[in-house]
Symmetry: C2
Amino acid sequence: MVSMKDISVACGVSVATVSKALNDHEDIGAETKRRIREVAKQMGYFPNSAAKALKTNRTQNLGVLFEDDDHSGLTHDYFACVLDSLKSAAEERGYDITFINSCRTRPNRMSYLEHCRYRGFDGVVIVCVNFRDPEVLELVNSDIPTVTIDHLFNNTCAIMSDNVKGMRDLLHYIYDMGHRRIAYIHGVESSVTQRRLASFYKTVAELGLDVPDEYIRQAAYRDTKGAYAETEKLLDLKKRPTCILYPDDFACYGGINAIRERGLRVPEDISVAGFDGIRIARHIEPKLTTLRQDTYQLGRKAAEKVISLIEQPKTTLIEQIVVEGEVYVGNSVAKI
Amino acid sequence: MVSMKDISVACGVSVATVSKALNDHEDIGAETKRRIREVAKQMGYFPNSAAKALKTNRTQNLGVLFEDDDHSGLTHDYFACVLDSLKSAAEERGYDITFINSCRTRPNRMSYLEHCRYRGFDGVVIVCVNFRDPEVLELVNSDIPTVTIDHLFNNTCAIMSDNVKGMRDLLHYIYDMGHRRIAYIHGVESSVTQRRLASFYKTVAELGLDVPDEYIRQAAYRDTKGAYAETEKLLDLKKRPTCILYPDDFACYGGINAIRERGLRVPEDISVAGFDGIRIARHIEPKLTTLRQDTYQLGRKAAEKVISLIEQPKTTLIEQIVVEGEVYVGNSVAKI
DNA sequence: GTGCACTTCTTAATCGTTTTCGTATTATCA
DNA sequence: TGATAATACGAAAACGATTAAGAAGTGCAC
């Protein structure tokens, strides 16, 4: 590794001068700057991030907390897409991304916050995690700039997919297709679920629909088995729904299986709608009608926000940024 | 941040003593060690990774190069699963994971190798990248311990999914189900494709099957449109295949769509098989018969290997580790 | 009592930067 | 001409750790 020392020798100046020249301080002569920079480039110089971090307390590195109870974080299409977008946006701005270690089994492990301090992350993005975890709270309440995705704390920035509008739009579409008996198998307890569920109730009320209690059921996210089972119960009702909403696209396929196994067709006999808009759902028959969340913007905004919190702490608002999704019209909801 | 200095003051010893106590050097008295450790824990001490890295030239951080031409790295189920497993295995051993910046558009950007030196990665894992990229070659040829996944260089360790055996097993299964006219839509040029294709030819020869040239077609990985188009051509043949192999599960659905649009059924009229074993393929009808690659082992072995290259450079062999997959029997291949 | 070996701890240099403060040189002006 | 200001650079400390080398203190043999 070529260091500033090497450059200073080559140029016959001090390391201080080299440092200042490369960082464009104004007390270095134009010609000297030029020469130093040229030599630096030619010698293939790049700074040592550890030394720089030690001195400046800045690492240009973001920590990403990305874990899931059922260990499906990275393998979860929605979150993977968000992360991918987050990564690109951060890299464009010169920040790298490191995972916050979530291994719980190591002896002498650090808490999330400790790990962040250890690595000196300039900021943190929290995705798809258990937001009631005390360690997450500790992190959120620390002085490290933090952005959460799809969860709202009162003292951090949050990037939220607009689940309220999303659910409303989806319901309106389904209503417009003629459906009046709409069932909703919602996800398990979480703020996202709450939002969607609240929006569901509000919207059906607005639309003047009658939704019997048996139409509201629950299955975990991405749980095809659970969705299958709940769908069966819905199909057993004397007054069947004409359309069923699922927690997410993945689970929706569990429901489709249940429907088809009874010899019913999707969407001719029963319509279904998902949530998320995972890629493959556009390539499999029936193409899922679903609320496609804007993962690109979610990831990008998260990166932008955390970086602005880092670089302009004063001027950056603690706010909630909402990203709208859109109804993707497949062919899983029939016109009736 | 509490530093060793703080602990040394609190304990009335020198920082050197603190450092050695915490690192369990043997020239520190047992009682002193105990006291120092207790105080350290109580004060909430954790080392500063930057300072440590600066001094030791070790970061306990792995770089992961994870990019794709079509920018589908993280959103690609197979690679996402590999990365997830890699991450877990690395974290269990105390290593963190940072993405090697692959943003090509930044002014003054670093090459992959430069970025690795800048961050001081102890080792690197290369996944799903363009292996002909000169920057990748530069990285591979450097002195940084490197492990590649699914690609073989002659001077690095490689973790390979056993595509040869995989293809053979899959073909044998299909053969055993009675199929004699088997078509293969293979992926585009890559070492993985070569291996699978070679294994395909070898196996059909062993089985004494006649495979007309029109049965061998090409479509990009994960390209449902391409797979759709090539499937149509196969269906147009006077002598249709009874079973079609696809580059991967995702593409397979493109083929299924083509088949169904002709009013044919899968698998009753035409059988299909995928490759990869992505999660959702087990939940959608027809459940794909596919070669399920062992992403858990691939990621895990990669982490173990690169860490052993780092920690025991002398004793670690430059080798090729092969991870076998298994035929996942769905119901997309009919018995005939 | 002296010498020697152990054990246990300290001193001080070092890693590659950044940054404050000081200094030498030149320019400006009364 | 001499004082002052502006410009361009350097010396040195500091960030938080590691580590080689050295220095006390203790115990033991003779």
